[in-house]
């Protein structure tokens, strides 16, 4: 029974000091949870602390691999809007490439 931090973690440190079991540690390329120490906060808090402060949707998974903060749940940004974001980033990137080769 343990949560897991995956690669979308942005290394913001927010979760690390909150863990009652010191299960979270800084690692490269992102923070990790020691599955042996993690208790999902049961007995200490009503809700898993790391998943309650993490600002990145999808960065923390439950023991079944499900996202604790699914897309849209924290930012209000829907999947559709997210696709728009990716298109905008891609366009900016392409423009930069073109400017460089010009």
């Amino acid at each position: 029974m343990a949560l897991e931090i995956i690669e979308s973690c942005v290394n913001c440190y927010a979760c690390e000091p909150l863990c009652p079991n010191e299960a979270i540690y800084q690692a490269a390329p992102h923070f990790l949870i020691d599955p042996v120490k993690c208790t999902e906060c049961i007995g200490d808090f009503e809700v898993a602390q790391c998943a309650s402060i993490c600002p990145i949707e999808g960065a923390i998974l439950d023991e079944l691999g499900a996202e604790l903060n699914p897309p849209g749940s924290l930012t209000g940004i829907s999947l559709e809007m997210l696709a728009k974001y990716q298109a905008a980033v891609e366009a900016t990137y392409q423009a930069a490439l073109e400017a460089k080769s010009a």
């Binding site: 913001c12 309650s52 930012t75 809007m81 974001y85």
Partner: protein
Amino acid sequence: MELPVLNAGQQEASQGGCASHSCGSTDDQLSHLPEHIRAKVHNHPCYSEQAHHYFARMHVAVAPACNIQCHYCNRKYDCSNESRPGVVSEVLTPEQAVKKVMAVAANIPQMTVLGIAGPGDPLANPERTFATFRELSERAPDIKLCVSTNGLALPESVEELSKHNIDHVTITINCVDPDVGAKIYPWIFWKNKRIMGREGAAILIEQQQKGLAMLAERGILVKVNSVMIPGVNDEHLAEVSRVVKSKGAFLHNVMPLIAEPEHGTFYGLMGQPGPTHEELQKLQDACSGDMNMMRHCRQCRADAVGMLGEDRGQEFTMDKIEDMEIDYEAAMVKRAEVHAQIARELEIKDQARAAKTELVAIQGLKTDQPATRPVLMAVATKGGGVINEHFGHASEFLIYEASGSGVRFIGHRKTVPYCEGGDTCGDGESALDKTLRELAGCEVVLCSKVGYEPWGPLEAAGIQPNGEHAMEAIEDAVLAVYEEMRVAGKLEARPVVQQKAA
């Protein structure tokens, strides 16, 4: 740094259009503050419009965590309130941060202020933030410390803040009404839970106001930042201004929302527009009836280094700092000398200004002259309060308003330098278009030099390029040009040519 050429001798220059005691002064922003506050902020580049031409500041990015979410922020990047969106700062440990501050303070003796503003919320990282402050108060006691926060953890931090001799705190307050807050803050983390929507916003507002009052009670200066979000809190901000003033904030700084789809923020993706320069200025004017505004704020990045408006961060990366040999004692002595030198310059400038004011008072109000309309002028400067930047090299312009009652600083507008290399390089085309767009509303642009190529497009856009006042004090030059315009009969009516971006 090049110290400014002071034009004390020019004070007799024609002041025809001037009809007020505030003539020539853009710094009356601070003039009505109580003396003890003025003494604290007069050499702080972020608080004093005058000081920001002379003194430098730096931020260290030691505070990555945040305890709230704002709709104008994408947490993959730095805090969007304290940094321009889309920026990622290298997070430092407190030890690294102290090392960096000591190195910068030794190399840039104009440095007076060290701030912690992110990249998350400093008070959501209390250990890292306070370890940095503790060490610095000991090792560089001449450097002022300041901190910016969203206010959620402020009440519990006031005690500790007052211990570290931190006399400046900035709180970002975008609203005092939870219904407005619900449209800005999707959630907060509070007492071990994530609290969504209006309920979270209500707690945040309560904590901000409580923290503000506690700081004011202890005599710690509080500045309030607000992000102006058209259609969300624009009409509400005058109320915010009133409330925070009554609680003891000494300055209110309204900043424009910056929201682009590529920043990946909620507002950016929703197409929420930021305010136009005109809307921002109108609101700042409406609020300044209530309280001081800080129009020269640059929304610096969380690891900015140097004078306001410049960023020398790249000269002080951790690996470069490792190789520097620094004599800290000597550096502190040098700083004291440079600060004293600048203080003398400013004093002379103040005296010149006072003399000028008197002169106008003696000459009377010149009521025989017809009323003149106000004119916006853009100025290219590298600092020092003088016109000393080429048009093509300027990455930002300071905007001044000249009118019958003198000159006042309005704000700054960022752009892409028209030409990085020389005055007539080939493909600066789109950069010039951007500059023309940014300068919309201005009728004159003052710079040390302006190339042949941009001259025509500037004139066509109704912006008169002017390189005749190079190395002159900004306010004197703006007044002189205004006077020329008056004599030429250009100030009676609105200009015929309406500026439009090319």
